[in-house]
């Protein structure tokens, strides 16, 4: 790391007042850091050797293949090869023997929790090809799974049985960008980070950001209504997506790729595809309004002694930082242990604290922003709402601090697996779910430092600014006993506080049976109506939430 030089200038006064520590990269040998590292034995934190996941059909034996779906034949494969070409556009394990490696990236998810039996992957290169593929599949009762970067967290983008994977990776062009309005049009397969880097050069920013940005596809982001790190500032995709091109199972191209900020001409049908999780159609292109990129970005990483004080920190940040607040992320101590152990990195603060938060500001005038942030930090530290903190002073430090938050998701899966719950909970109750779950897991004797215990830790983090908690149970291996403690306990807990069992990850396979905890019978009935309207044969992403 390049950053050893101490404080960002605006914070010198806070430093002089003894309120704020410098950005510290050299304290590994300090007592605090040693104490920190000793909280976990080397053995318990040994990374698991990647193994193939269990088949979903073994984990969920109650799910039966729908006999109405056809088996894929040689003739089907020939049709697709003729349509798409024999090259990389068709990965055929039906008429040929493929190495497991060829199909595995499409059959399994990165958490090694779901694994399908797919033997045919199609990579159409255009909307017209998607249309022909889907029409053929619909006419022949072949089930399909639309797939982008396959970075989902609920098993929504991988097959269960032998569904055909339709992957968007060959549809990866940036179609257009208007530098006055900020409206970007992209193919579904454009990687989020590629789009954001393209926009950075134009002085704009993609209104969505998330940990998997280097792999996830924008089509998949929109299909799952991804929330992410910038929602607090730039709102949800339901507001920022202006147009969608999608293909229905019968091959109909929904040509709703509007490039206008406002278009009030009839039902906003594109919204059904945002968060539809590929169950009624497949998104092939997206038009989205992108905000101006802020020239001034500050990131502070703060230690807070209690969840009560964390709520006060959030309220103060909202009031004092106002229009420049662009992220308020919560992390508990356990999540930070996992990150730093998985990455082999050092925590940014010497002091251990039960809670941390990452605050980002983005604005157009760095002097103004620095002044606002300085005043805010002085205030919360002098009033002892925040106990310690650092502020990044360059891009490297900003990245480093963000990695403490963005690295959590991957770190929790590092030792074998992870049970993930992505939930919305009214703010005052938000962290209580983590405490209650930890208690349940401990009471069941499932958590410990050695290999005999399946659970490493129960941690909580997330987009506090959006009342969105990620409850993660990091495990050494998947274990039915853990699942039995967690479910339906977690869902019942959430239903009691009128939360949502999926804030931003979607339902996929993981939560298909639990939608009733967040939606009424009436709403589920109305959703089924929509599913039947658009996909009467049920070929789109079957066995998932609809």
């Amino acid at each position: 790391m390049a950053c050893r030089s101490g404080l960002t200038p605006v914070l010198r006064r806070a430093r002089a007042l003894g309120l704020l520590k410098s950005f510290n990269t050299t304290h590994a040998s300090s007592a605090n850091a040693l104490r920190y590292l000793s909280t976990s034995s080397p053995r318990s934190f040994r990374a698991a050797t990647p193994t193939l996941a269990k088949f979903t059909t073994d984990s969920y034996p109650e799910i039966q293949r729908n006999p109405r779906f056809a088996q894929i034949t040689k003739d089907h494969v020939s049709y697709f090869q003729l349509l798409l070409g024999k090259g990389s556009a068709v990965i055929d394990g039906v008429t040929t023997e493929l190495a497991t490696d060829d199909m595995e990236p499409y059959n399994g998810d990165w958490m090694r929790k779901y694994r399908g039996h797919c033997k045919l992957v199609l990579k159409p290169g255009s909307t017209e090809e998607v249309s022909k593929v889907l029409k053929y599949c619909n006419d022949n009762m072949l089930a399909v799974v639309p797939q982008g970067g396959n970075t989902g967290l609920v098993g929504g983008s991988v097959p269960v049985f032998d569904e055909i994977v339709i992957n968007t990776s060959r549809m990866n062009k940036i179609q257009s960008f208007d530098e006055v309005s900020g409206i970007l049009v992209v193919d579904a397969g454009v990687v989020l980070e590629v789009a954001d880097q393209f926009l950075a050069e134009k002085g704009y920013i993609f209104p969505l950001d998330l940990g998997a940005k280097g792999s996830c596809h924008i089509g998949g982001n929109v299909a799952t209504n991804a929330g992410g790190l910038r929602l607090l500032r730039y709102g949800s995709l339901h507001g920022s997506v202006l147009g969608i091109e999608a293909v229905l199972p019968d091959g109909t191209i929904v040509d709703d790729l509007s490039k206008l900020r406002k278009n009030n001409t009839g039902y906003d049908l594109k919204q059904l595809f945002i968060g539809g999780e590929g169950t009624i159609g497949m998104i092939t292109a997206v038009s989205i309004i992108c905000p101006q990129r802020s020239s001034a970005v500050n990131v502070a990483f703060l230690a807070v002694e209690s969840y009560e004080k964390m709520q006060r920190t959030f309220r103060e940040a909202k009031t004092q930082l106002g229009e420049i607040l662009s992220a308020f992320e919560l992390m508990d101590l356990g999540s930070q242990h996992l990150v730093n152990n998985a990455q082999g990195s050092k925590p940014p603060l010497e002091t251990e604290s039960p809670f941390y938060c990452l605050i980002e500001t983005s604005g157009s005038n760095s002097d103004h922003d620095n002044e606002k942030l300085e005043k805010f930090l002085e205030d919360v530290m002098s009033r002892e709402i925040v106990s310690d903190g650092v502020v990044a002073q360059d891009q490297t430090q900003i990245k480093s601090l963000w990695s403490q938050r963005e690295g959590i998701s991957e770190a929790t899966a590092h030792w074998g697996g992870v049970y993930k719950y992505d939930v919305s909970i009214p703010l005052k109750d938000l962290y209580r779910l983590v405490d209650d779950t930890r208690e349940k897991i401990e009471a069941a004797g499932l958590k410990g430092d050695t290999d005999e215990f399946p659970v490493l830790d129960v941690v909580g983090y997330g987009h506090m600014g959006d009342s969105n908690l990620h409850l993660n149970v990091a495990v050494r291996r998947y274990d039915k006993r853990v699942e039995e403690v967690l479910e339906p306990f977690v869902y019942e807990w959430i239903a009691k506080v009128q939360g949502s069992i999926s804030a931003e990850h979607g339902l996929g396979l993981a939560k298909k049976n639990y939608i009733g905890y967040s939606r009424s019978e009436t709403m589920i009935g109305l959703m089924k109506q929509i599913k039947n309207l658009y996909d009467p044969n049920g070929i789109m992403n079957p066995y998932k939430y609809m």
Copy 2:
């Protein structure tokens, strides 16, 4: 007006540099002001005596009453009286003789352009009552028109024949507000301004604002997906509305009144009601996320010599004012003439200019905002992009400047009527539509200063920040010849530049035949599918866009 004291302090320097005029309220006798007032003869600007509008059935003789709909009988009226009570909840012109005045506010629109033959107005007091009313109407094939504040601009909220009006005015409670998250839940009949004033006391702001705020109902705003003055900053209702309660024609209550910022559990069906214009169901309650109210608000009113310079002004405002820019409104000289003549008020600037813009900033730190605005104004004035300007220095002046923009809509209808087009056009082409339309109207000999000419003026204004133009043709009386020049000319013009024939007002009756200029056959077909799914009998707001 209380404001005579000159400049806001931040702008003293610009003033010293001779760049900026003071806020002027005393120049009525100046040469400029006299020249301004002389542009219109008293006769041509005499307000028309309000007369009853023509019946829509006379203006649109091609629309035939659907014979499948039942006639309202005594028995129907009795049922509703029993259900809702005999008081003000049922206005019955079926079994009794009513004065024209009793029914007129529900039968006609404020532009005096549409007028129906409704003889029964129902005002349910709860969602359950709406459910019973709709179920009864559906079972008995009685057509209905949901109606809020009846401030719409496309004839969507008034009946054509004898449809029953279901008015939301008795459902007017603020249900709840969460002071941490900013989530507000209201009945559909809450007046927008009432909600905003309630929020102001809590330090929050309603994310929507529009000229009709004193009368319009939030249910109607959401049903028409109103855009308004704050969209540039706070986004569209598709993003800010978190939940909706609505009733389908069969009486089903769509209970999707989520109070969570994020809820990713299935198809986002509520979106269909946002902009659905009451054609598939009736909204009875809304949950919406409200931003923090900015403590510092500045408003500047600037004169700009050409549309080309106006575009540069907009780009500079976007870049230099960044996150604090909360409105950028365009007004042409003609629109300002209409406002000041209708209101009998004085223009804020002495100098006449072909274009004006109103810029609003909202932020949390007035020193910072003032500095940004000052720097911006100095920059655009010293580079002669902007030729003159004033900045409001107190609430009264802010209101006064805003009235130059907000007063236009009413002013254009002041002399007898107005043809209104609310369109989205790529920014570079935006104002050209006004020039081209004016030319067409003039070439047809329809525009002049005396009563024999139907057209007073062709003016343009709107939410330039959203590429949203309001083209208004102010008339002394409605005249088929004017209409024939305007349509389909305007729609064809817009289709050519891939704009939208309705940016924010909706389609209603006015644009029912023109949706094809902005939507493909496929999209219209898909919309009809949705209409048939939810309203198979077609009783919801018939004869309108679907």
